[in-house]
Amino acid sequence: MNASAAALRIAIVGNPNSGKTALFNQLTGTRQKVANYAGVTIERKEGFYTAPSGRTVRVLDLPGAYSLSAASPDEAITRDVCYGRYPGEALPDLIVCVADATNLRLHLRFVLELKRLGRPMVLALNMMDAAAKRGIRIDTALLQERLGMPVVETIAVRRGGTAALVDRLDRDIAPLDAVPEPHDDLHVEVRALLAETVTAPRKTAALDDAIDRVVLHPVLGLAVLAVVMFLIFQAVFSWAKPVQDAIDAGIAMLGTGIGNALPAGALQSLLVDGVFAGLGAVLVFLPQILILFLFILALEESGYLPRAAFLLDRMMLAAGLTGRSFIPLLSSFACAIPGIMATRSIQDPRDRMTTILVAPLMTCSARLPVYTLLIAAFIPARTVAGVFNLQGIVLFTLYVAGIVSALAVAWVAKKLNKDKSEHALLMELPSYRLPHPRDIAIGLWERAMIFLKRVGGIILALTVLLWFLSSFPGPPPGATEPAIDYSLAGQLGHLLHYVFAPLGFNWQISIALVPGLAAREVAVSSLATVYALSGNEAGLPSIVAAQWSLGTALALLVWYVYAPMCISTLATIRRETNSWRQVWITAGYLFGLAYVASLLTFQVARMFA
C-alpha cells in the first residue's frame, strides 16, 4: 500500500512561545526535513510519524503568529497556509493549534480566530506541567465543550507527553462551522471562556518575577549580561581549541595517508593541497560554531535572549538598530550566515535590512586564523599593567573595532533612510523554562548542516579553484622564477598588486586576498600555498615575521575587520533580501571601508616606523 497516498497532513499553528517546535520535535523526532518556502526564505519544517493505526501523518511546523492579520513575513506564511492560499502548499487536512496552558489569556484569542476558519481543528494545551506547578487548573472537558473542538493536554518536552494528541489525531475530527465575522469581540469571548474554565492563583510564576528582578535591573541586569557574554566567548575560544587541534591533525594525517598512497602528480596535489586542505579549513570552525550555537540555543530556549534584547533596545535604537538585532548580531560572531538568517525574527523591514547590513562587521570565527597568525607574528606576548596579555588586548581591540563600526554604519544608514515612520518593538518576554536537550540537539544539528553544506561547498570549490589557478600554466622549460609566478594566480596577484601596494600589501598577499574575498579563512591557507609554491620552505609564521613590515601586518589586520565578506554571506544576503541592490551596497561599503582603513593604518604606521 502506498502510505503517502493516505497520509494525514496536519499543520501546527500557534502563538510564538507556545512550544510548537518542541511539540513538532516530540512528534516527528529526527524524521524532519528543513527547507525554505518557495520564493521566500522562511524556514519550512516538515516531518512525519506513523500513527498507531499505521497511517502516515505529515506534520508541518508553521511560524509562530499572534494573529491571522499578519504583521511580519513569518506571520503571512502562517496566514496563507491556513487559508490554503500559499502557492505550492496544499490546505492542511487538520490544524493542530498549540496554546501555552500558562498563557491562555493571550493564546486563546488566536485559537478563536483560527476556529472561525471552519477547518477540522484540535487544540493542544501545552506545558500542562508548568501550569500544574503554578497551580493553574483548567477544566479541559468544559473547554472542549465550549470551543466545540477536541482539546488535548500535552507536555511537549516530556517523552510520551504527546501520546494523548497522537491518539486523538488518529480518530476522525469533524470540521467546524466557518464564521466570517470581524474579530472585535474575540477578547470578550476569551474572558468568558477563562472565567468558566480556568482558575489561576497568580498572574505570573514567582520564579519569573524573582529572576526578572535581577536580570532586568538597570545595573545588575547589564552586569549579568556582560558576564554571560564573557563566559560564552571564553568557552568558544578555550573549549573549542582541543577539538580544533584534533580535527586539524586528523585531516592532515588523512591527507598525508592518501598522498602517500597515490603516485606524485596533479591528482595527488589536487587531493592533498586542494581538497583536504580545503576540507580542514572548513571543519576546523565547526567546534566554535557549535559551541556558540549551543549557548545561543540554550539562552533562546531559556527565555533569556529577549531579556537581553530588552536591556539593549534603547542603546541599539540610538544606533539605528533594535533590541531584536541583538540575537542575529550575536550569532554573527560565529558566522554571519546563520546571523543573517536569524534576522527573520525582526518584524520591521528597515530594522531587518540594517541588521543584515552590519552583521558582516561582527568578527566571525573565519577571521580568527588571520588574526591569530598576524598577532602571533607581530605582537609581542608581553604583559601589560600586570594582568593583561598584549596579544589578547589587540584581539579584543579588533572585536571592538568591528562592533563600533557596525554601530556607526547602522547610524549612517538610519540617517540616509527616507522612511522616518515609527519602528515598533512590541516584544513578548516569555516565561523562563529549562532548555530541553533534544530540542537543542536538533537545533545544533540543523546549524551544523547549514554550515557544512553552504559554506563547505563554496570553500571547497574555491580551494580547488585556487589550487588550479596557482598550478597552471606550469613554468616554461628553463624557468628561473618560482613556478607560481607563471601561473594564472601569479599573474593576477601581480596585477592586483598595483591596487593594493598603497596599503603595504605585497603580491603574495594580493593573490591570497582573492580567495580571501570569497571566504576569509582561506586567506591564510592561500598565503601558505603561495609561499610554498614560491619555494619558501619555512613555516608561514616565520616567513611573515621575517618578510613583512609591522605596517603591512597591521594594515592586513584592519583589512580583515571590514574584510569584504565571503561569497557565502553575499549569497545569503541575496536570498534573504531578494535584492541584488542590498548585496552590492553591502559588498561596496565593506570594500570601501576596508580599503580606506587599511590605507590609513599603513601610512600612519610608516610615518612612525
Binding site: Y66, S67, S69, A71, T102, N103, L104, R105, L106, R109, H187, A200, K203, T204, D209, D212, L216, H217, P218, V219, G221, L222, P306, A309, F310, L311, D313, R314, M315, L317, G323, E422, A424, L425, L426, M427, E428, L429
Partner: protein, 81 residues
C-alpha cells in the same frame, strides 16, 4: 493617563488604545495582544537608559513596549478605578 506615564510597579486598567495615525498597525497589534478595555496592566521593569523600553505585565504575559508604543494606551490608574 497614558501607559507610558505609569510609574514602575504601579497598576492600572486599560481604557483604550488610540491610533497614532490612520490604520495604525502598532495600535492594531496592541489590541490583538490583549490591550483592550478593562484589562489590568502593571509596569514590571524599565530599560536601563531613559527608562525605555517598558516591561508591561498584561494578563499572564509580559511585553516590552517602547515609550512611544505605550503612549498609545490610555489607562486609568488603580487608585482611581
Amino acid at each position: 493617563m497614558r501607559l507610558s506615564d505609569l510609574a514602575k510597579d504601579a497598576t492600572a486598567v486599560i481604557h483604550e488604545v488610540e491610533d497614532a495615525n490612520l490604520n495604525d498597525p502598532i495600535a492594531r497589534r496592541l489590541r490583538e495582544l490583549g490591550f483592550v478595555r478593562g484589562e489590568p496592566v502593571r509596569i514590571v521593569a524599565q530599560g536601563p537608559i531613559g527608562g525605555d523600553p517598558l516591561l508591561v505585565q498584561i494578563g499572564f504575559t509580559r511585553f516590552a513596549l517602547r515609550r512611544a508604543e505605550a503612549a498609545r494606551v490610555q489607562v486609568i490608574p488603580e487608585e482611581l478605578a
